[in-house]
Structures are given as structure tokens and as C-alpha cells.
Amino acid sequence: MSLTETEAGSVVRPAERRRGRNRPATRSRLARRRRRAGVLLSLPALALVVGLIGVPVGQAVYYSMTQWNGLTTTWIGPSTYTALVKDPVFWRVVENNALLLLAVPVAIGIPLVIAALLNEHVLGWRFFRSVYFMPTAISWVVIGMFALQFFSATGVLNGLLAHLGFGSSATDMLAGEHSALAALAITFIWSMVGTNTIIFLTGMATLDPTLVEAARVDGLSRIKIFFRVTLPLLTRFIQFSFVITVISAFSALFSLIFVMTSGGPGYGTTTLEFFIYQSGFQQVQLGTAALYGVVLFVIMAIAGLVQLRLIKPDDGGGW
């Protein structure tokens, strides 16, 4: 049905078109209608984004310089930012974000190896690809539910350690500040495997196979080919996955923290995004929440600008 319509529409009638083009009145009328249609069609998206994202960003910047409890607002001024920099809690929270960055190379390195293995196209590689990518479909809440059981004192991890003869090293990882953050980071790494593997597989599919072939003829080993040929050619894809991973680490872990640790113990797993929730929702200091929100936004904007440079908006050939 739709196909025949498409074909009908694509039938070019040169005579008519030329006549239309040559008549200036028709052309300017068409141009006007075209412009009006363009404005009209782009308006809903613009309104939605400006109203529900743009305006609140402006408000967040304003409220970040106030004391705000949702009802009354007291103006303080830009000094909130200088006070923030002197606040040890802020640096404790930023430290958690910085420590989470340590997980990023692992969250990229493991998928890189997995993608290289899949790219060998061994028996059943399509099946394995589906399996590796599957966690991408489930929510952080469900992942957190499992992780909670996995890392608990009587959980899977300690059971496994005891089974392997390391029973004495049994720990409740979620009870210590740094070990809880480590548990969070491990869960995060596991969750990123699917996404990053797919990005690297896509990248490897674009590589020129003759380059690898030439390297093989030159007698380079598999490992050397990977490091000297494949990896350098994947730079853009690695950068892309780096940005995605950082963005996820800083702005997608709310649900995981909510389910696994609620930010604790102490400030152990309170990242910027979770502190926004805590200061706003639990302490009703919405000004502070907005302040942290602006800090997070600035970090994300920098990451986002890098990302926009990496994807090519003019590329319709990906389909």
C-alpha cells in the first residue's frame, strides 16, 4: 500500500516541473509555503524541549543561587558557588564521581576484547552477541535487585569465594564505604558490556579487511594485529564509547544507587546525581539540589559537546 504510493509520488514529470520552476510567482509562493510548513512542523518539538528542558535549566541556574524550599525563595547570589567549593561534603561527593571514573577504562576494555572475539565469527557468534547485549534491555532497578543479593554477606559472591576455598575472605561489600562503591562500579561495568560491545562490533565491521589480511601476510600475530592495526583504526569508536560510558556513570546510576545502597554507607556511594535527590527530596533544600544540578549539567554538557563532535549528523548512510 505505502509502497505503491511512494512509487506514484516519485514519478517525475519533467514538463510540469519545468513549467513550475520557470514561473517566478509560483516559485515564491511555493517557497513561502515551504517556509511556513518548515516552521510549523518544527514548532511542537521546539516547544516541548524548550518548555520542559530549556526553561527548567534556566530556573535551576537561578535557584542554585537561592535558598528554596519549593514555596519560598531567598536570594543569596553567586556566593553559593564559592561556599560550595569550600564545602567538604561537595568534595566527598565529587570524589565518588572521580572514583567511578576508574571503572570507565575497564568498562571499555572488556567489551573491546569481547568484540574482538565476536568479530572472529566463531560458531554461534550471533547467539553470543544476543546474549551479551541482553542486559541492555533490563532496568537498572532489576540489575540492582540482583546485585544486592550478589554482594550481600550471605550472597552469591561470598558463596562462590567459600566454595573456592576463600571462605575466610568473606565480606559484606555493601557495608564498607569504598567496597560499596566498588560493588556499584562492578555492577556498572557488567551493565555496560552490551552497549560498548555493540559499538565496537559496529566499528570493526567498518574496518577494511584487506588491512588485517596484509598484516597477517606480513607475519604479525593475532595479538599484534589487534593492537597495531585494529585498535588505532577504532579510535573514533573508542572515544564515542568513552563519552557514553562517562555520561552513564554520572547520570544513569541513580536507580542502581537507590536500590543497592541509598547512597550509603555514610557518603560512600553518594554521587552528584544522588546527592541532588537526597538534598532535595530528603532535606528539602531545593536550592542546594539545584546547585548540584548545575554542576552536574556543566560536566554533562562538556561530555555532550565531545559526543556531538564524534557523531556525524550529515551521515544518512548508516541505514
Binding site: 505505502s2 509502497l3 504510493e5 511512494t6 509520488g9 516519485s10 517525475v12 514529470r13 511555493l30 509555503r33 515551504r34 510548513a37 510549523l40 512542523l41 511542537p44 518539538a45 521546539l46 516541548l48 524541549v49 520542559l52 526553561v55 527548567p56 519549593g70 569481547i114 572475539l117 572472529e120 560458531l123 554461534g124 557468534w125 553470543f128 551479551y132 541482553m134 542486559p135 541492555t136 532496568s139 537498572w140 532497578v141 532489576v142 555493540i198 559499538i199 554520572f250 536507580s255 536500590v259 541509598s262 546525581e273 535527590y277 531545593l286 539540589a289 544540578g293 548545575v294 552536574l296 554533562m300 554538557a301 561530555a303 559537546l305 556531538l308 549528523p313 544518512g316 548508516g318 541505514w319
Partner: protein
């Protein structure tokens, strides 16, 4: 040549165990959840025996059916809005460019960088002030706004791949811009529309933050319901596993059927 071929074959078989181990690591949580959903707390502690006790407790402490319905309603409504505004805007930005349309396109797409956490409370207060947080409406609008930047980027990219000639010819044939969009551009962009639908379905279905903040308790989504159940800490582990299972199934089914579209959306713009 022959010996090289032989060597390659053997190393490939050697990779199989490694891939199987990785598969176990990736699949184990799913198995764990399924296995322990069908136990009582006692059976869970002993790790022996199965029963439906966890499910009974889940249904007693969580309105599962209602929350699944809430998730569905919110997903369908938000995706409908996203599709309408992103196809129209994508078409305009790609094919009906006007003075300043490039800037507006950048403005819409750059909203991608704003994490909801950053604007959480201003957003909430705004929507509460116009009484949109007491129904589905507030959450639907927030999801729609969050999904629109990427969807618009995707549609604009897709429409750029369609030749200008085709669109112009249709307009010249008297279809007008509106009908050219509806009868030619939309049917041609069904693959991109499918990608957006699948991507957004999984994103919205799996989301906690919006569901937790912008919906009244009675209209919570299943993901938000499950998360609040866990913070109660009074619920048995099998009940939580049962809840995890039932909330994950729709997203997994969609993933298994439409995997290809999901991959496409994730890696768009990354191709050669």
C-alpha cells in the same frame, strides 16, 4: 595457504570456551532471578525447593497488574508524542530548511546533554503548579521531552538520506507539504520510526526517576513500584525476584523481537 587456514580454524574453536564463560557471566543474573522467584524465604535461605510463595507475597504487597498497565499507558502515550514531534521536526530540519532552522535543530538536539537530575525540582514544581503531577500527564510530558532530542536527531538524519528530488517532485505534483510528509516521507521512514519506538519503549519502561517523582502513588509504573518495594526491606527476597522477573519480561520480549532496531539506534551515526 592451507596450513594458515588450518591454524585459523583451530584458534577459532579455542575461543568457544571463553565466549561460553562470558555468556555465563552475562546470563547468570537472569537465571538467578528466575530460580529464586519461585521460592519461599525459607527455601531461599536453604537454596532448596521451589514454591509460588514469593509470587503470592509480591501480589499481596504490590498492585502488579495495575502497575503493568500504568507502565503500558505511560509508554504508549509518551512514544506517541515523541513520534509525532520528532518525525515532523526531523522532516522540517532535513527537507524544509528555513532561516535559523539549523540553529533550532542544534538547540533541540543539545537538550540531549541535560540530565533530568539537574532540573528535577524546577521541573517538578512547574508541573505541580499546573496540576499535572496528579495524573499520567506530567510523567508522559517529561518522558516525551527527554526522548524528543535524540528522536529528532535520528529522524533528521534519516530524512537527509532521502533525495530532495523525490520530495520536490511530490510537492510539484500538487501533494502539498503536509500530504508529501504524511504520504511519502512517513512510509519511507518506517525503519527509523521502529528504531525510535523500540529504543524509547525500553528506556521508558526501565526508568525509575520520572516514575518515582512525577506520578501519583496510585499510578506508579512497575519499575518504580518494584524499586519502592525494595526500599521497604520488609519484603522477602523471592518476592523481589518475582517482581524483577515480571517487570523485566516485557522489555526482554521487545528486545528479543526487535534487537536489530535497538542496535541500529544505539550505533547510528557511527557507521562509515
Amino acid at each position: 595457504m592451507a596450513p594458515i587456514q588450518l591454524r585459523r580454524k583451530s584458534t577459532k574453536w579455542g575461543l568457544l570456551p571463553i565466549m561460553a564463560i562470558v555468556a555465563v557471566v552475562m546470563l547468570y543474573p537472569f537465571w538467578y532471578i528466575v530460580d529464586n522467584a519461585f521460592r519461599s524465604q525459607g527455601q531461599f535461605d536453604r537454596q532448596a525447593g521451589h514454591s509460588l510463595s514469593g509470587w503470592r507475597q509480591l501480589f499481596a504487597s504490590l498492585p502488579v497488574g495495575g502497575q503493568l498497565l500504568n507502565s503500558t499507558v505511560v509508554c504508549v502515550a509518551a512514544i506517541a508524542i515523541i513520534l509525532i514531534v520528532s518525525t515532523t521536526a526531523g522532516f522540517a530540519f532535513a527537507k524544509l530548511r528555513y532561516r535559523g532552522s539549523g540553529m533550532i535543530f542544534l538547540l533541540v538536539v543539545s537538550a540531549l546533554m541535560v540530565p533530568l537530575q539537574s532540573i528535577l525540582f524546577p521541573e517538578f514544581v512547574n508541573l505541580a503548579n499546573v496540576h499535572l503531577t496528579s495524573s499520567y500527564a506530567g510523567a508522559v510530558l517529561v518522558y516525551a521531552a527527554l526522548g524528543t532530542p535524540f528522536a529528532t536527531f535520528l529522524m533528521a538524519t534519516y530524512y537527509r538520506g532521502i533525495s530532495d528530488e523525490l520530495i520536490e517532485a511530490a510537492v510539484m505534483d500538487g501533494l502539498g507539504y503536509e500530504r508529501t510528509f504524511l504520504q511519502i516521507a512517513i512510509p519511507l521512514s518506517l525503519p527509523a520510526i521502529a528504531t525510535i519506538t523500540v529504543l524509547q519503549f525500553i528506556q521508558i519502561w526501565d526508568d525509575l526517576l520520572v516514575g518515582l517523582f512525577f506520578l501519583p502513588t496510585s499510578q506508579r509504573t512497575i519499575t518504580a513500584g518494584l524499586a519502592t518495594l525494595s526500599t521497604g526491606r520488609t519484603t522477602s527476597v523471592p518476592a523481589l525476584m518475582a517482581g524483577s522477573l515480571i517487570s523485566a519480561i516485557p522489555a526482554i520480549v521487545v528486545y528479543l523481537i526487535f534487537q536489530r532496531h535497538l542496535v541500529k539506534g544505539l550505533t547510528l551515526g557511527m557507521g562509515k
